[in-house]
Symmetry: C2
Amino acid sequence: MANNTLKPWLHIAADSDFSIYNLPFGIFSSLKNSHRVGTAIGDKIIDLMELASNGAFRDLIADDAVLQQPYLNEFIALGKKTTSEVRNRVQQWLVEEASPLQKNPQYFINQSECILHLPVRVGDYTDFYSSIEHATNVGKMFRDPDNALLPNWRHLPVAYHGRASSIVVSGTNVRRPSGQTNPNGSSPVFAPTKRLDFELEMGFIIGQKTTLGKPVEIDQAEEHIFGMVLFNDWSARDIQKWEYVPLGPFLSKNFASSISPWVVTMEALEPFKTHGPKQEPEVLPYLQHSGKKNYDINLEVILKTTNGDENMISQTNFKYMYWNMAQQLAHHTVNGCNVNVGDVMASGTISGSTPASYGSMLELSWAGSNPLEMKDGSKRTFIEDEDTVIMRGHAKKNNMRVGFGEVKGKILPAV
Amino acid sequence: MANNTLKPWLHIAADSDFSIYNLPFGIFSSLKNSHRVGTAIGDKIIDLMELASNGAFRDLIADDAVLQQPYLNEFIALGKKTTSEVRNRVQQWLVEEASPLQKNPQYFINQSECILHLPVRVGDYTDFYSSIEHATNVGKMFRDPDNALLPNWRHLPVAYHGRASSIVVSGTNVRRPSGQTNPNGSSPVFAPTKRLDFELEMGFIIGQKTTLGKPVEIDQAEEHIFGMVLFNDWSARDIQKWEYVPLGPFLSKNFASSISPWVVTMEALEPFKTHGPKQEPEVLPYLQHSGKKNYDINLEVILKTTNGDENMISQTNFKYMYWNMAQQLAHHTVNGCNVNVGDVMASGTISGSTPASYGSMLELSWAGSNPLEMKDGSKRTFIEDEDTVIMRGHAKKNNMRVGFGEVKGKILPAV
C-alpha cells in the first residue's frame, strides 16, 4: 500500500522502523507461548496466531497451525495473495476505530518481553557478489589495480553457494573461528583467525518454489521474492586467502552468518523502488529488465566496543547495487536450478563509492593498512574479541519509514 | 559384522550388491503403501515399517512413525546404536530358521514392484576435491602442467558448498542446462552447454548432528557418518570455465546431482577399510589420523547409448582418495561449522592413475581432444542428449560382497 496518510490509533514513535507502513513478519516466543508468527508495530508485536484463533483470518487461512510453527516457511508458502491480505487486514485494523485489534489489547505483546527467532528454515543459501564498488575494491587490493574487475563481472551476477546450517538470528554470539592460514607463504599454520571481518549485506527470501528444470523469467522474478532481511556474512580473511583458489570461499565463511529477525515484505518496500546503475556493456537478454528494480534503503554499520560506545563505521545504501534481485534470481535459475520457500539469497557486501560507505573492514581499513579510530581511542583493522557489530537499515520517503531493526552479533574469543 | 560365514535361508544371487552383509537403508513406496523405510536383500526389499508394526523393534524404537517418512532423517537421528541394532536383527533373522522374517513372506516386496526415492532430506551439501589424480589432471589441462596442484591442495581437503535442492535420486532424467559461456573470449553467449559432463563421486551422509562452534575431532569423525551413496555431480564445463573465478563453480554444477537410493552403512563397509596414499608433506595435527580410513570400493561408469549398448568408460576405486572422510569432516567443522543429520558430503571426482580410470569425460577425453569410441561407432568427448550415465560400485572380500546398486541419469535435450 503506497498510501502515505495512514493514521493509526496506536502511538508509534516517528523514528520507529516498525511503522504502520511496514508490518514485517517474524517468529517470536514469550513466557506465555512458544514459537508463533507475529508482526511488529512500534515497540510491540501483534500475535497473529492469537488473532487467527479468534477467527480473524478464517476466510484466508484453512489451518491456523501455519501460524504456530518454529519458522515462517509454512505461512509464506500460503502465497503472496494470502500473506499480503493478512498484512493489509492488520494495517486496516490499526487505523479503524473499534477494530478487533483496538478492542483487544491482548493481541499486543511488548517486543522487550519476547524472544525473536530465526525467521525461516533455510533450505539453501546463496551469496552474490553484486556491488561493483566492493568487487572493484577487492580486485584492487588482491589482484590488478588497473583491471580490478574480472572479465565475467559485468556479464553475470557472480555468486556461490554458502552454508545454510550456520545462519543464526541477530543477537547470537559468534565464536572466533580457527583455521589454516599461510601468513608467510611457506607452510600453513593452524590458529584463530587474525582477520575477522563482517560483510554488510541484505538478503531476500524465496516465497514461491520452482520445479527443477524450469527457469524463473526475469519479469516473473518478483513473484518469487517474499521479503528481505539484513545479513551479516561474517568472514575470516586470512583463512579465505589460503583456501579459496580454485573452488571459492568455504571455512572462511561458513562458521556463521547473522540475519535480522523481521522479514520486511516486498509490498512494504514497493514505495522505495528506484533505478539501479546503468549496466555497461548491455547484458544478455535473460538478464534485461525494465522499470525500477533497485531499492533505496539506508544502511549503517556500528562497531560497539565493550564500554558500550557505538562507533558508526559505515553508511551506505542498497540502491548502489549493480545487479538487482530480479537479475540474481533469473540468473540463479536460468540453468534450471530450483528454489524453495525459505531459501536465502544475499547480495554480497554492499559498498558505496566513498571510503566511509564501504561494507567490510577489509575495505574500510584497506586490508589493514588504514586502522579506524574508535571513540575510546582504540584502533581497529579487523574485528576484535568482545566487539559487537550492529547493522541497521531503513527506507524513508515523505512520512513513510520502513525499517529492518537490526542484526547484531558479538565476537567471543576462540576456544 | 565382519563375520563372513553367514548363510541366509533366502536365495541371494552370488553377484548381488545386496547380500546379507550389506542391508542398506532406503525409502521406497509401492502400489500398496506410500513412503517408508526398507532394507534391500537380493532383489527384494524388506518392509521395516511392516516389521515394526508387528512389534519387531518395540524395545528399540519408541515411535514407529520414524519408519513411515518421506526421508530417512528421522530414522537416522535415532542414532547408530539403534540403527545398527535394527540392521543386526534383520541380518540374524535372515539366517535363523523359523525367524519372524522367514515365517512372514509378506515382509518382502520385489524391488521391481517398488519406487525408490531420494533417501535423505539434504540440509546442506558439500563437495570436496579430494582425488589427487583428478586435481592433477585438471591442473594440467587448465593451469600449469609443471605445477598442476595448487599450493594449498596437499595441506587441506579443498571443498565448496553445493546446492542441496537439486539433488535427485537415481533414475531422474536430467535436462541439459543452458547458460553463459564465453567460447571465443570476447563477449559471452547464452546457449545450451556444449560440454556436459558427469563426475564419478561417492557421498557420505551425516548421522549425528553437531552444535555450531564445536568442531568434530578427527578421531570422533566416524561416529558422525551414517553411510554412503554413489554420487554423480553433473557438470557443465563451458559454463564452469566462464563463471568460476573468483568464487567457485555455481550454475555449472547446481542444475542437478544424482545419488543412489540405498544408503550403505559404515558397519557394512567396515571389512573393506584400507590404508590411503601417504600424505606428503605431513598434515597439520587436526588432520592427522591413525589406522585405516580409506575404503576399497570398486567403481565403474557406463555410458548407455540410445540403442541400449552399455559402454564401460571408466573403472576405478575409492581407495585412491588422497583425503579420507574423517579428514574431510574434521576439516569442515574445525572452524565451528555445524552439520545436521542428512547432510551430504561428496568426495569430488574419483580418478585413478591410468586414463581408463578417470572419473569424468573432461579427463577421459582430455578436454575433448581424445574422443571415446562407443560400441555403435559413435564418438564422445562429452555427454550427448539421450545418453544415460550409469555408475556402479561394490566392495568385495572373500565371499562378502557389499554393493551400492547404481546411480543413473539420462540427459534430455535443452528446452
